[in-house]
Symmetry: C2
Subunit: 179 residues, 2 copies
Amino acid sequence: MSRQTGRITDIKKVSGELFSLTYGALVAQILKDYENVEEVNRQLEKMGYNIGVRIVEDYLSRTNTTKCTDFRETSEKLQQAMKMYLNVSPQITSWSPANDEFSLVFESNPVGEFVELPENCSNLKYANILCGVVRGALEMVHLEVATSFVQDNLQGDNVTELRVKFLKKIEDTVPPGDD
Amino acid sequence: MSRQTGRITDIKKVSGELFSLTYGALVAQILKDYENVEEVNRQLEKMGYNIGVRIVEDYLSRTNTTKCTDFRETSEKLQQAMKMYLNVSPQITSWSPANDEFSLVFESNPVGEFVELPENCSNLKYANILCGVVRGALEMVHLEVATSFVQDNLQGDNVTELRVKFLKKIEDTVPPGDD
């Protein structure tokens, strides 16, 4: 089967509402399991990491993506992936002067439709699974990054902002793997 | 805003792969929390129930569905809902002589893409969340049903079969609610 360069192949789609409700069930379960919200954030990130290291293959094969020449190109690929997988279109903003750090800004929390956080969740990074997905996916293409949510509609901010910071290139001799 | 009868309004779609991986993370977490597989099945069903009682409103408003005249019509609505929310098209088969029981047969496990169960999960009903979704959704339209998976590709069967059995109509005076 041949594929045209640049063409995104068909992707099976499911309901965003079902996804949001299922993700909500996951977060609720983790909240039940770990009383400390910081630990909940860490667990969600870790789950996302494990998803990221798997889903990147799917992304690469569907888009025929080749190696990014710089971090700006990486940011555009992440923007494209958000559209492909979550059907949301974040803005790329707030580049650092050194071009090693940017934000993906979402109009609303991309996995938090229908969600209202209870009062005791003021430090919960509800969408933290996405931090892990991005970190895991980029690690598989030899980029070590730090990711964090610095704004969140669910915490009263006007937008949801995911910050991505380049840390280093990973040498081929160090095999990336599961956390 | 007016809506034509019978027309399904737009529904936000996300990647099926992302959904499957996220659901997999949920199942893995529940397996970690409850050592007994029967209890895991129960928990998944319960989570699905809570999703079903919420998602039914979305389904009704999108499809302008009116009251079903019989259980055959209900089966068709469920088939349609599976297409809408999971992008799968199960066959409706194996009606009981009394027309109070049927199966939805899926070519493969509808939420189990990429999944291979470890050996100690031989009794796991991986997709059991769907049993709960169907039970919860139908309860909100005053139908009490029993649901169970009787075949599962992940357990070595050729298809995945969800059995739905009508139990009784729920009188209006009994308000349905969360488990």
